[in-house]
């Protein structure tokens, strides 16, 4: 019966892990169960090359001697003994469950299991029932990061392998879709949304893309290790600064008493004024992004009237005309 590949890989790991000395390829071919299936020298070397890469992908330290023999040093193969304080364990337990979906969710729980099994405690138990403080910490606080964007997985894989990606991207809501070719440096979650930061090859410049605006499939192209991300770029601040902070200024408006609770959260009442035959309160509110503020005002309909500044007043009138219909928005 042909041996499964997993069986051959496991036998290779065990053989090299238990060797005091480096083992050359002919020893491996001869002694390790599974390689006898190779029909020719060429087939064996192809098989062995692939196997080496897969072990390295798993983080198994496969060392090569100057004359091309191999071994796996046990000290580097296994996770060293780790001892964590109860509050460190609480932090780790939360961290291991942060990821909601994708490969990272599985990796997080796998990492927790390894750390637990590498622990100094001789008795393996359930860390949560053993430590009430830990159970409390993990039940009172549940952080979660979702990675539901279909583009997350292929881009994460490309970031790891340092391979180029191409995808169709809609820059803004109304914009057309363009194909972008990007060296993906890394992924950032900012205000609940995922972004990829990288180097846009066609534009020869650093760019940030929101994953939810990628249309269709992400294609990975070219070889692995095609680029080196710059060391001095802090991805989080790149994304944070890509939406520039608005100029802080204030607006004055008249609001019907009792309405506009949202606007009033950051408002100061500075007087009153008459709208039609009603007395409204005069509020001063901070204006962040002009159109966001305008939308907040327009949502209130006749319950809010802008007095200043001029550009906010114009924006509000334009939105109201659009909502009324019959005129161009």
């Amino acid at each position: 019966m042909a041996k499964t590949k997993a069986e051959r890989l496991l036998n290779l790991v065990i053989a090299l892990l238990n060797s005091e000395r480096y083992r050359d390829v002919s020893w491996i071919r001869d002694k390790v169960d599974g390689y006898e299936d190779a029909a020719s020298d060429e087939a064996f070397f192809r098989m062995f090359e692939r196997d080496k890469n897969e072990l390295r992908d798993l983080g198994i330290p496969l060392q090569t001697s100057p004359d091309g023999a191999y071994r796996i040093p046990p000290g580097e193969f296994s996770l060293p003994e780790l001892t964590f304080t109860p509050s460190e364990k609480a932090a780790l337990a939360l961290a291991g469950r942060l990821w909601e979906t994708t490969v990272l969710a599985e990796a997080g729980s796998g990492a927790l299991r390894k750390i637990n099994d590498a622990g100094g405690d001789t008795e393996a138990g359930d860390p949560e029932t053993d430590h009430p403080a830990l159970a409390q910490a993990t039940s009172l606080l549940q952080p979660r990061v979702r990675t539901a964007d279909p583009a997350f997985q292929p881009i994460y894989t490309a970031v790891r392998a340092r391979r180029l990606v191409t995808f169709d991207y809609r820059k803004d809501q109304a914009g057309t879709v363009e194909t972008r070719k990007v060296q993906p440096w890394g992924l950032v979650s900012w205000r609940g949304r995922w972004y990829v930061v990288g180097f846009d090859e066609d534009r020869s410049a650093q760019r940030t893309f929101r994953l939810s605006r990628i249309n269709g499939a992400v294609r990975t192209t070219g070889r692995a290790g095609a680029f080196t991300p710059p060391l001095d770029v802090d991805l989080l601040s790149v994304v944070a600064s890509s939406s520039p902070p608005p100029v802080e200024r204030s607006a004055v408006l008249l609001v019907r008493p009792g309405s506009g609770a949202g606007l009033r959260r950051r408002a100061t009442v500075i007087g009153s004024g008459v709208v039609g035959d009603e007395v409204f309160e005069r509020l001063r509110i901070p204006v962040g992004h002009l159109w966001d503020t305008a939308r907040a005002v327009v949502g209130l309909g006749p319950d809010a009237v802008v007095e200043s500044p001029e550009d906010l007043l114009a924006a509000v009138v334009r939105l109201l005309q659009g909502a009324r219909g019959g005129e161009v928005a």
């Binding site: 961290a95 969710a105 990492a111 393996a124 334009r318």
Partner: protein, 319 residues
């Protein structure tokens, strides 16, 4: 089966030390822990039994001791796989990125513990990865008091801004837990005003005060984090909207269901569960014609009426 040989190898290398530390562990428990079927675990164990040291005499092979009646398993010889393999790249990323995210949540976790855990992982060869970064949640002033109410299990009085109704309400709530998700932190609590469990965005808590009453301990807390923090009124029927390109962001912002493909102008039709009719009118009004209500002519008429009334204030020469 889509599993690769590498995935299977990783699981088998983890199974050996896991079982060794828990002699007599049930196969069903292994299946749950490793997220695969019991049949897959049985196949893995069969495979482990034929692997071992070169020579492959009976004493060289991994000795898996199965108790078929009890459905349990132990390991008598591990062929050198005593300890878990070092963290893989993905595992290191998952854990270190998550820890750094926690460190950015002031007041929620013991930051010193997070940093010392990170340092220990780094010593174990799992350095912090820079390729994935997360800004977990914007800071909110009420967070400290909310955290205290949870720790002391005390009832909390809050003045809360409900965006979906554009109102401020005062409520007494019994805190259950804190959820940090999608860029915001939420207090999950039993609300004595709504008489139900609700999620309160911490940055919308205008004011909070600890009360002397102890919080009622919930009988049962769902382990899972709910998919949505927003509780649409089941009595309110979904409404169909046409979103022109300038309003398509609505589909990214709110829970909507897209109906069909975009038309040639780029407009999409979506079904949305609004918190209330008033909220929907405010939303459509604020979009200035970029969204239209398709199947509720009464609400569409309200939008036009309110827009017309509002415009009257601007054409008034006195304003």
């Amino acid at each position: 089966m889509s599993e690769t040989a590498t995935d299977r190898l990783a699981r088998m290398l983890a199974l050996v030390p896991y079982i060794s530390r828990r002699p007599g562990v049930a196969i069903g428990d292994l299946a749950a822990e490793f997220g695969v079927s019991a049949g897959q675990i049985a196949d893995d164990l069969d495979l482990l039994m034929v692997c071992g040291l070169p020579g492959y005499y009976p004493d060289d092979l991994i000795d898996v001791v199965l108790d078929d009646e009890g459905g349990t398993v132990s390991i008598a010889f591990d062929a050198g796989i005593e300890r878990p393999v070092r963290l893989s790249h993905d595992e290191a990323v998952a854990l270190t990125v998550a820890l750094r995210t926690l460190a950015d949540l002031p007041g929620l976790v013991d930051r010193d513990a997070v940093f010392s855990a990170l340092a220990k992982l780094e010593q174990a060869g799992a350095g912090a990865a820079a390729e994935v970064r997360i800004a977990a949640a914007a800071p909110a002033p009420a967070l400290g008091l909310v955290r205290q109410s949870l720790d002391e299990a005390r009832r909390l009085w809050i003045r809360y801004y409900t965006a979906s109704r554009d109102t401020l309400t005062e409520r007494e709530v019994d805190p259950i837990r804190l959820l940090v998700t999608d860029g915001h932190s939420y207090l999950e609590a039993y609300c004595h005003l709504a008489l139900a469990v609700r999620h309160f965005r911490i940055d919308r808590i205008e004011q909070a005060r600890l009360l002397d009453e102890p919080a009622q301990v919930p009988l049962w807390v769902d382990e899972e984090v709910p998919e949505r923090m927003f509780h649409p009124d089941p009595a309110v029927a979904p409404v169909t909207l046409r979103l022109h390109p300038a309003a398509r962001w609505i589909a990214e912002y709110y829970e909507v269901q897209q109906l069909g493909e975009p038309d040639e102008g780029g407009a999409i039709v979506v079904s949305i569960r609004a918190a209330s009719d008033d909220w929907l009118v405010r939303l459509v009004l604020s979009l200035g014609g970029a969204a239209e209500i398709v199947d509720r002519p009464d609400l569409a008429a309200q939008v036009i009426t309110r827009a017309t009334a509002a415009l009257a204030a601007y054409s008034d020469p006195n304003s």
